[in-house]
Amino acid sequence: MDLLLSSFEIIARWDVIAALLIGAIGGVVVGGLPGVGAAVAIAIVLPATFALEPIVGITLLLGIYGSSMFGGAIPAILVNTPGTPVNALTTYDGYPMTKRGEARRALSLAYSASFFGAVFSIVALILLAPVLAKVAPMFGAREIFLAAFLGILLVVITHRGQVLAAAMLACLGIFLQTIGIESTAYTQRYTFGQGWLQSGVDLIVVVLGLFAVSQALILFMEKDKDIKLPHVEKVGFFTQMKDLWIYRRIAAVGSAFGVFCGMIPGVGEFMSQFMSYSYAQRTSKTPEMFGKGNPEGIVASEAANNSVPAAAMIPLLALGIPGEELTAMMLAVFYVHNVVPGPQLFSGSMDFIIALYLCLLILNVIVVAFLYFATDTLMKVMLIPNRFLGMMILTFSLIGVYSLRNSLTDVAIASGFGVFGFILKRLDYPTSPIILGIVLGKLMEDRFRTAMARVREPFDFIDRPIAFVLFCMIVVALLIHGYTMFKGAKAKKTAKKEPIHE
């Protein structure tokens, strides 16, 4: 009880509440803009929060992170374009429902399922927090190295069909963090004698280039879409929840998948959605309606993806290990605000952790209330032409890059990564492995060096229980991936041999 009270004390301030409001509403608006997304928004706003107190700055960015998926469901359902990549599955059933004239019901189901998923995961985490506080200190250098390696491995192998490209980009990310003067012997690495490379490549500059500048370039090359918005009636909050009650089993299972996948670094929204959607389809009385406007599909997808952000904060806060690009950026947010995630934070500042979870809880209430009143207005942001939006993103991104050090070099580096990200996006290659490579690469290098100082034989590395479990997880992940590849190759061969029946 004391813990809860002291957590409330941390957030019971006008500036924290204001940050929550701005973050929540800003996140929904950004999520509702196809082609922007939370990563771009966080990258842009992050430098503007430097002057704010840690809890205020973190709350603002946490607000954007936690609420963007709510907004992303709107264009997914109404115009068949996901606002954020994780809303892609929502289009499968949301848009057919809109075409049937059930846009109102589809939206209300998406909002209520998202709300349910988010609250489910936050409550689960608050209950889990004391256990985590006990487990987190058991993670030493080798356990953190293995967990980070597992995170990178999972990020790579979950990019089905692009595993080699993802592995290559993750390795490039790890290489990028080695540039500059290293911290043990103070020698230069890949600076080519250039002074501006001595301090290394700044994560925020890379993030802004890869996400914001590249997205602006993508939008510049597209044609403006002629969007026609369907009419959507207003619906009460309790009516929304009543509709969800019919699908409570799917919402609960989807949320549980979200919590489970969110906690494992590198897995995240896509896997949880896939598992939740498959489960819903398998257990449905009308599986043939999936992809044709089945409300269960929307509930499964939205409950699963919205329960991930809070769960993804577990490895981030307890071990300092981000699981995907957004949590990697949140890690940068914490560092910038002098909050160092890791076992010490979890065991020493539990009130701060609970305060963050409370912020997430309040955030979801704000978002649902905002969406109840403002869905009609919010729909209008989708009418902003693509290329004009690109101009806006490019203008905003300058604030993020240039305000860091007022350095033209930073802007040039961000532009370089912008073009690189633009090419990757044009080729449908993932950008998140680079960011995770940069963040986790640094962590892995430091922890590996520390761990190896105490290791005499290779098996010493995994002689502690948690290290051994993590090692087994790595082996199992590799074996499963190998088996899936083998099965896929076999299926392809069989398909080639069999004649095509009309």
Partner: protein
């Protein structure tokens, strides 16, 4: 294929995208170049363990990048190809035009100040993108909002312009601090 599948968002790539081989070759060339420079660009300290060597992680990461880049090149070479390689490469180069405007915008801030540079950039880019009257008006309002919100209200650190020095003494501080 039914209509819903046609309208479904594109999640996983099918076939080889135009320009993919060009990209694969460029990445292999880049990582090879970096690996060839490893002895001159990283240090090897005698007597230190392998894990503590400054060269260890660059070698490991670049080796991995080259290995996977080569494998990716090899695996994509076997996939059916979509035409338009050079058109796609030209699109990549075309993006540099916008990067040029962007760099010009940043460089001009220290001369004309954030306010004027942002207004000129937004209007110029809006015109370049093909929008006219209403678009230009909205772009001007947007530029004003960006400067007033970020520089004037949030005090984001962006330097003032050299032309502000020409302003009368009382105005100079206001211009430097808020615009």
């Amino acid at each position: 294929m039914n209509s819903q599948q046609d309208e479904a968002p594109h999640v996983f790539p099918e076939g080889r995208k135009p320009g993919e081989m060009v990209f694969c070759i460029l990445i292999v060339a880049l990582t090879t170049f970096l690996l060839l420079n490893i002895t001159s660009e990283t240090a090897w300290i005698a007597g230190k363990k392998l894990a503590a060597q400054p060269r260890f992680w660059p070698a490991l990461s670049l080796g991995g990048a080259l290995f996977f880049a080569a494998l990716n090149w090899w695996s994509r070479a076997g996939v059916s190809r979509n035409p338009g390689r050079w058109r796609e490469t030209f699109t990549w180069i075309r993006s540099l035009e916008f990067i040029g405007y962007y760099m010009l915008y940043v460089a001009s801030i220290s001369v004309v100040g954030y306010l004027l540079a942002t207004i000129l950039f937004c209007i110029g880019l809006t015109l370049r993108l093909g929008y006219r009257r209403q678009g230009v008006l909205i772009a001007t309002c947007f530029a004003l909002f960006v400067v007033l919100f970020f520089k004037s209200a949030l005090n984001v650190k962006i330097p003032g312009g050299a032309i502000y020095e020409l302003a009368p003494e009382g105005m100079r501080y206001i211009l430097f601090r808020y615009f």
